[in-house]
């Protein structure tokens, strides 16, 4: 069976933005992200039938894909709050891998960090020009 591999993109400045984003998250977010990658790693086809963890982006962000996951944050005496997160990157079925560029949280129409998608487009462009390198996530 296919075992997908996940890589972080490291820019020419040496920055690994997806690893930085991951390290800045709380343990709940990191754990949910790690489990999501484990599930995707063992899922042969992410597109047909569609896997809810995964989405190809279109229009201005064509060429990018996102890995979607969430956490349910408990609130005493109330329903938990669902927080939605995305890992943006380049899905390469021919390589059997996904190159993570940046991560962000989606709150309604707002992204945290706000320029996550623009940064992902810039990183994608650099990656496609052969600038920087990739580092496998464990």
């Amino acid at each position: 069976m296919v075992r997908w591999r996940f890589f972080d993109y490291v820019g020419t400045d040496g920055r690994n933005r997806s690893a930085e984003w991951y390290a800045a998250q709380g343990p709940e977010v990191r754990a949910a992200f790690d489990v999501t990658l484990q599930i995707l790693r063992a899922t042969e086809d992410w597109v047909q039938p569609p896997v809810v963890h995964f989405k190809n982006l279109h229009k201005a962000h064509k060429g990018l894909s996102e890995i979607r996951f969430y956490i349910d944050e408990p609130r005493p005496g109330k329903h938990p709050t669902r927080r939605r997160f995305r890992g943006i990157g380049i899905h390469r079925p021919s390589h059997g891998d996904f190159v993570l560029l940046v991560g962000y949280e989606e709150r309604g129409m707002n992204y945290i960090p706000a320029d996550a998608l623009e940064e992902a487009m810039r990183a994608k462009s650099r990656f496609e020009q052969g600038l920087g390198w990739i580092h496998e996530r464990s």
Partner: protein, 193 residues
């Protein structure tokens, strides 16, 4: 460092490991449901019918975004697949190895498939009892003879809905067996030969 060791280091943080277990349960169960549907060639509607659940419930059960599966739903879904479901407490090392070996194509045979594969040495496989499993349906059985690849129906017992076409056909070790014998309205006993 390999992935399992890396994960183990992260699990040393208690909040991380608590969250990891929660996320693993919420995502790995729907993953298995989707994998089993694929392996058994079932649509959501077909699994819903076999599980005596609505298609909406199946849709939610198979979605990792739902995250609020009930035990009642889980046992119904297991019944729909005709497999067992074991929810048990395990050490973290076992969980991480299991997750690492997660495989969409891992085969989970149904009870009947196991029975016919002689799950326990010395036990003859039972003949097939074909019944409508919807709780609201009348209990019913198909009585007939069975050959590899086809069922030859002799008669139906209180069977307004059951047809020979609905019968499950298995490769039996013997050429002909009596399919089922009706004993009471509430229970049926399968007999071989």
């Amino acid at each position: 460092m390999n992935a399992l060791k890396e994960l183990w280091l992260r699990l040393r943080e208690k909040r991380y490991r608590e969250a990891f277990v929660a996320s693993q349960v919420k995502q790995a169960i729907p993953y298995q449901i989707r994998a089993l549907m694929k392996a058994q060639g079932l649509t959501q509607a077909q699994l819903a019918e076999r599980s005596a659940l609505s298609q909406g419930v199946i849709s939610r059960a198979a979605s990792p975004m739902y995250g609020n599966l009930s035990l009642n739903t889980l046992v119904r879904v297991a019944a729909g697949f005709d497999v067992a479901f074991v929810g048990r407490f395990v050490p973290f090392s076992e969980m991480t190895r299991w997750l690492d070996r997660l495989d969409e194509s891992a085969h989970v045979p149904t009870f009947e498939a196991e029975d016919h594969a002689r799950a326990f040495e010395g036990l003859e496989p039972a003949a097939t009892v074909t019944e409508n499993t919807r709780p609201s349906a009348k209990r019913e059985a198909l009585v007939g003879t069975q050959q590899p690849g086809k069922v030859e129906a002799l008669f139906r017992l209180t069977a307004p809905r059951l047809t020979a076409q609905a019968a499950t056909v298995h490769e039996f070790p013997r050429p002909r067996v009596k399919v089922a014998e009706h004993t009471s309205a509430a229970a049926m006993t399968a007999v071989s030969r």
